[in-house]
Symmetry: C2
Subunit: 203 residues, 2 copies
């Protein structure tokens, strides 16, 4: 059978599911084992991880061009990780509303202005986890209220230093990396909103 | 109990595992349910996904400053995705060796020169999946030999056009986004190896 070309090929799902069994389910993920026919028509299996929340990241920027990083031990990695403020937002809730809640919980910051920076699929060979990141400015400091199960550290740093942490491999979390690179690229080509461009100074 | 500050806090794992059960296992992933004490000392659960391969991405660049994208239907996302050439490399094998194999399989290209661009943790709230991306140049074209279960399309495009696809949200795969943005930033500040900087032209 000749596969359809171009746009048609992109529209069609070349996998056939013969049986699907949920093998694990908790508040955050659902793991399903599929018996499939592969795009080649041969029998195979596919284990997928469904994420029940959207991953949301926020880069807060203050009038001095500083931002906040959050440090925490990441249990799955068995490693400590410095990241932009992040959290999960329920599907069906405006991601901007979830972003404002997460930023307030982790840093106590409230932002007057928001700009979407990037959307990504984090690990598409196995999961359907989607992510969105924002820049937030016009900040007012309140009290942080992290989830009681979290043990977080915070650091306030010049954005230029944080960009260097990405380049130097100190920040490795994919959502943080993608968001910070996107912000740096827009800053360097001068395409950020003028007040933000001024806060960050000349590239 | 006062948590230790600074570096000490980063060294210590604040989670206690009381019981761990493997709930799903296949060639690519292993899912484990943990009964834990959270950093707050309260009982909780944590489901983790262990990845049996390193995620590897390659940006091949030819003498005209063009690169290759690979298109495929991503079963977990139920969506078509355009990405840099990617694949999995077994832990314990030199990632550069796996990268050369993946590039040849998906595009038929053999590269004389390689530069590591970025390393990332793709989804660290749930998984231990680690990724590395390279740029490859000094290309020779051979025959592609994709895995028979894959149905791939290929496109050769100017890198500038591909950078715009990231910015425009057309490329969403996190490994592709992180690698392409890393390359664009190095190109713009002139820090790529001189032959590559020449191949890409002035920013």
């Amino acid at each position: 059978m000749t596969p359809p070309a171009g746009e048609d090929a992109e529209a069609a799902n070349p996998w056939t599911v013969r049986r699907a069994d949920v093998r694990y389910d908790n508040r955050w993920i659902r793991v399903t084992h599929h018996d499939v026919l592969t795009p080649a028509g041969t029998p195979g299996i596919y284990g997928t991880v469904h994420f029940k929340n959207l991953a949301i990241g926020i880069i807060p920027v203050d009038d001095d061009g500083h931002t906040w990083l959050v440090g925490q031990y990441r249990f799955p990695l068995a490693a400590y990780s410095w990241e932009i403020p992040e959290g999960g937002g329920p599907h069906g809730v405006d991601p901007l509303e979830s972003a404002a809640r997460e930023l307030a919980e982790e840093t106590g910051l409230v932002a007057a202005s928001w700009l979407p920076l990037i959307e990504m699929d984090l690990s598409n060979s196995v999961s359907d986890e989607r992510a969105i990141a924002y820049m937030a400015w016009g900040l007012t400091q309140g009290a942080a209220a992290p989830e009681p199960t979290e043990r977080l550290q915070q650091r306030r740093l010049p954005l230029g230093e944080v960009f260097a942490m990405v380049r130097g491999g100190v920040i490795r979390d994919a959502l943080s990396v993608g968001a910070l690179q996107a912000l740096e690229l827009r800053w360097r080509d001068g395409s950020l909103p003028p007040p933000v461009q001024r806060m960050l100074g000349p590239p």
